[in-house]
């Protein structure tokens, strides 16, 4: 079942001296309960595509459809809160909130009680392989890998149908990388989420059900390793 589709999506950044066309009529489709990898050179437009799919902005041209509904017509705040979750390459945790509070945050935004949010956050932090001692720690007290996993736990906490991850294993050792990839696969295959992972890591790409390659702002589907 198709969950997410991009149709001829274009997008550009303007700097002081030039305009960069980051996406050029990109079209792609992502089904439910599957994990996708988007690969490509740095600066090829992968993160921009992920941000547009996350509803962080609207394309300059083209459409993004979620289960057939145009994102332009949707309440994008609600879409970001209830439907899509993002794990950023730079983590983007709240520096003044503890790991537990960071994970609870999206749940509390959804109106879940503090107590229930706390319970679920604990579960999720443990699920991404972090010990309980991390609960009360602030991001600056954690390693990059720990922050990455807290960011994944926060993305999972939102409970949306789409999980977008930008280099989620970039800061992890191979064992943790495998663990995270397993979690992401589990989210897709067991929980029915559409998981889209941007990665340079061939191992992660290999674990995906489908691979899209980004090159100079254009996207083409590759044959999956599976």
């Amino acid at each position: 079942m198709e969950r997410l589709r991009a149709e001829k999506v274009s997008y550009c950044y303007r700097t002081k001296y030039q305009t960069i066309e980051a996406l050029k009529e990109v079209s792609c489709s992502f089904a439910a309960a599957r994990m996708y990898a988007v690969v490509g050179e740095s600066g090829s437009g992968k993160s921009t595509l992920l941000s547009l799919l996350a509803g962080l902005d609207v394309p300059a041209a083209g459409e993004i459809l979620i289960e057939g509904e145009n994102l332009r017509d949707m309440d994008r705040d609600r879409y970001r809160r209830d439907t899509v979750s993002v794990v950023y390459q730079a983590f983007h945790l709240f520096p003044l909130l503890t790991a537990m509070e960071n994970v609870m945050y999206p749940m509390q935004l959804q109106g879940i009680s503090r107590k229930e949010a706390c319970r679920r956050a604990g579960m999720l932090i443990r699920k991404v392989g972090l010990p309980e001692k991390i609960f009360g720690q602030f991001p600056k007290m954690m390693s990059g890998g720990e922050q990455q996993r807290v960011a994944i736990a926060r993305a999972l906490a939102a409970g949306g149908k789409i999980l977008l991850a930008d280099e989620p294993t970039g800061n992890l050792d191979s064992e943790n990388e495998r663990h995270i990839v397993e979690i992401l696969k589990q989210c897709a295959h067991e929980d029915g989420l559409t998981v889209i992972v941007i990665t340079h890591n061939p191992a992660v790409a290999a674990a995906a059900d489908g691979i899209w390659r980004m090159c100079d702002g254009r996207l083409q589907e590759e044959e999956s390793g599976k």
Partner: protein, 605 residues
């Protein structure tokens, strides 16, 4: 989710910044509240003092030269030194009406009028006075009156004491070369008793000396002395048909004038009783009834104030009518020291030119010691005070004396605190001949305190305002602008713009409000302290100020108003709170205008 709770929790986790924000904003709010409080206090004090204080100036023409003279003293047989002031041209009061002179009252060169009141008692029964008399007398033998000369009184034209002895002793006391008097000749003379010589009649009767003669000081409407043909003599021989001559008739008129004067009271006409120094100094005050009102002056109401002694002696109460017949005006002297000639320029007694009833609106009394001033600055016995505008007819033909402005005849009132400005303008007129003396009951000293208070208030307001703005801009930059990534993450998690705004604003506002409240309270209490430091404590007695009735109760003293006003603190506090909210909103709006993607990537899209 409690956005306020999260917002505050984040601030709590940057305690140093938050505490500094709180303390600095408290300090700025305290400065503003104290500044606002002081500003209001200075305004209130100014209004308060304006109601109590008055500034008047008196004007005195400086003599052109001082002439040393000598006066013969028959008793010692020597000349005694005497100083005479020569004033030259009289400077008119109109020179004081120059551009920019912002008078409240005046300037007025006050006249006092002699009012004939035969129906009233002017002295108590046991009171005495020097005896002026106009008599025809003959020396018992030829004699030069260089010392007391016995003279038989032939006829009394005027006297205060009717039981005068048939023989009096006459001495031309101040004349070194008196004319010889011949036995069997009759002389008419105006005498006054006193000056007993150290010769055989130490026990009395009194020696009589010349008092007045045929002279006139009548002036025209322009103040210039009118020409007259009067002899100026104080002793003249009465020959057959003497009283048919102009000179003789003038002697009879002189006697008539003195008879009227015996039953006359001085009436001072003014535009403001506070221009009269005994009233201004509050030594004279309304003991019953009231002083004059603005309406009395404006409408020229026929009201008057009389002395308590005069009222008591004649059984007069407030509301009673006082019948006054105004006969002549004196613009030169005080009512207690009139030296005007008794006759008009044509050698006649003055006639009544305004005859009416004045209603007694107030009965004045004097503080003990009020009579210690020099005679000219005191109120005269039985002096009646009336509004100048209540005199309907012109006194132009009845000016018995006109002279240079004196401190006790000429004064004006200006706004408090305007002495320096007035003097500056006056000096620009280039008129040297006048001496101006100001009286302000110490307002100048109080005003210095007020100015200091105002300067400090402005300083505090400016300092407080600028520091509050600086603090808010700096901390909003710290708490908001530098938190753009937080906004981006919140928005990426689905938080709405309004929620993001509240998330950033609420915590800052709560801390700001706490700071503002604490600062404003400190400012409220600081205002009184600052006011006390800035103003020297001045105390003054205002029992008798501005027509207040003397009740004989204890001394009431007052000083600067010192208490702060919580409403001012609330106002300055609200201003800081609004400024905080506005500054924060401007900063937050900048963050919220951008899409989360731009905030996260740090690039324009």
């Amino acid at each position: 989710m409690s956005i306020l709770y999260h917002s505050l929790r984040r601030l709590r986790r940057t305690p140093v910044q938050t505490i500094f924000f709180f303390l600095l904003l408290s300090a700025a709010s305290a400065l503003l509240a104290a500044g606002g409080g002081l500003w209001k206090l200075s305004g209130e004090n100014r209004a308060y003092f304006e109601a109590i204080f008055q500034t008047i100036g008196t004007v005195e023409q400086k003599p052109e030269r001082i002439v040393d003279e000598e006066i013969w003293d028959a008793e010692t047989g020597m000349y005694r030194p005497h100083v005479r002031r020569e004033y030259g041209e009289t400077i008119p009061v109109s020179v004081l009406s120059f551009d920019g002179a912002d008078y409240i009252s005046g300037p007025e060169q006050r006249a006092w009028y002699s009012a004939y009141v035969p129906e009233y008692l002017l002295m108590d029964e046991n009171e005495g006075t020097c005896n002026i008399m106009i008599v025809e007398a003959s020396p018992l033998e030829d004699a030069v009156p260089a010392g007391p000369v016995a003279m038989e009184v032939r006829r009394i034209l005027y006297t205060f004491y009717p039981e005068n002895a048939p023989v009096i002793y006459y001495c031309d006391h101040n004349n070194a070369h008196p004319e010889k008097l011949y036995a069997g000749h009759t002389y008419v003379m105006c005498l006054v008793d006193g000056f007993p010589h150290g010769w055989p009649i130490q026990q009395g009767p009194f020696e009589y000396i010349p008092y007045d003669g045929l002279r006139s000081t009548q002036a025209g409407a322009d103040g210039r002395l009118l020409d007259n043909d009067l002899s100026g003599k104080y002793v003249e021989e009465v020959t057959p048909g003497f009283y048919e001559t102009e000179n003789g008739k003038a002697w009879l008129e002189l006697a008539a004038e003195y008879r009227e004067r015996l039953w006359s009271v001085p009436v001072t006409a003014t535009d403001n009783t506070d221009l009269i120094l005994p009233f201004y100094d509050q030594e004279v005050f309304a003991a019953q009834g009231r002083g004059f009102t603005e309406e009395d002056y404006a409408e020229g109401r026929k009201v008057c104030m009389v002395s308590r002694r005069f009222a008591n002696r004649n059984g007069l109460q407030v509301g009673a009518a006082l019948h006054l017949r105004l006969r002549y005006a004196n613009y030169a002297d005080s009512a207690s020291g009139g030296r005007e000639g008794a006759l008009t320029a044509s050698g006649r007694a003055y006639s009544v030119w305004e005859d009416d009833n004045w209603e007694i609106c107030g009965i004045y009394d004097m503080l003990p010691g009020a009579g210690n001033k020099s005679r000219d600055y005191r109120l005269a016995d039985n002096e009646v005070i009336i509004p100048a505008s209540s005199v309907r007819h012109s006194d132009a033909d009845h000016i018995a004396a006109f002279g240079p402005m004196k401190g006790y005849t000429t004064s004006f009132e200006i706004p408090n605190g305007s002495i320096d400005r007035w003097m500056e303008l006056w000096q620009a007129q280039g008129i040297d001949g006048l001496e101006i003396t100001f009286y302000d009951r110490g307002y100048s000293r109080l005003e210095e305190g007020l100015k200091q208070m105002e300067r400090m208030a402005l300083l505090l307001l400016a300092g407080g305002g600028m520091s509050a703005f600086g603090i808010l801009v700096f901390f909003c930059h710290l708490f908001i602008t530098k938190q753009s990534m937080r906004t981006a993450i919140e928005r990426s998690l689905g938080m709405r713009k309004g929620q993001c705004l509240w998330s950033l604003l609420s915590g800052i506002l709560v801390i700001a409000l706490c700071g503002v409240i604490a600062g404003s309270i400190a400012g409220y209490y600081g205002t009184t302290g600052a006011a006390k430091r800035l103003t020297r404590v001045e105390r003054f007695d205002r029992r008798y100020s501005n027509g207040a009735l003397y009740t004989g109760e204890g001394e009431e003293t007052t000083t600067y108003l010192m208490s702060g006003d919580w409403r001012v603190c609330a106002l300055t506090g609200s201003a800081v709170a609004v400024l905080a909210a506005a500054t924060a909103l401007v900063k937050i709006r900048r963050n919220l205008r951008q899409e989360p993607l731009a905030l996260l990537s740090g690039r324009e899209v």
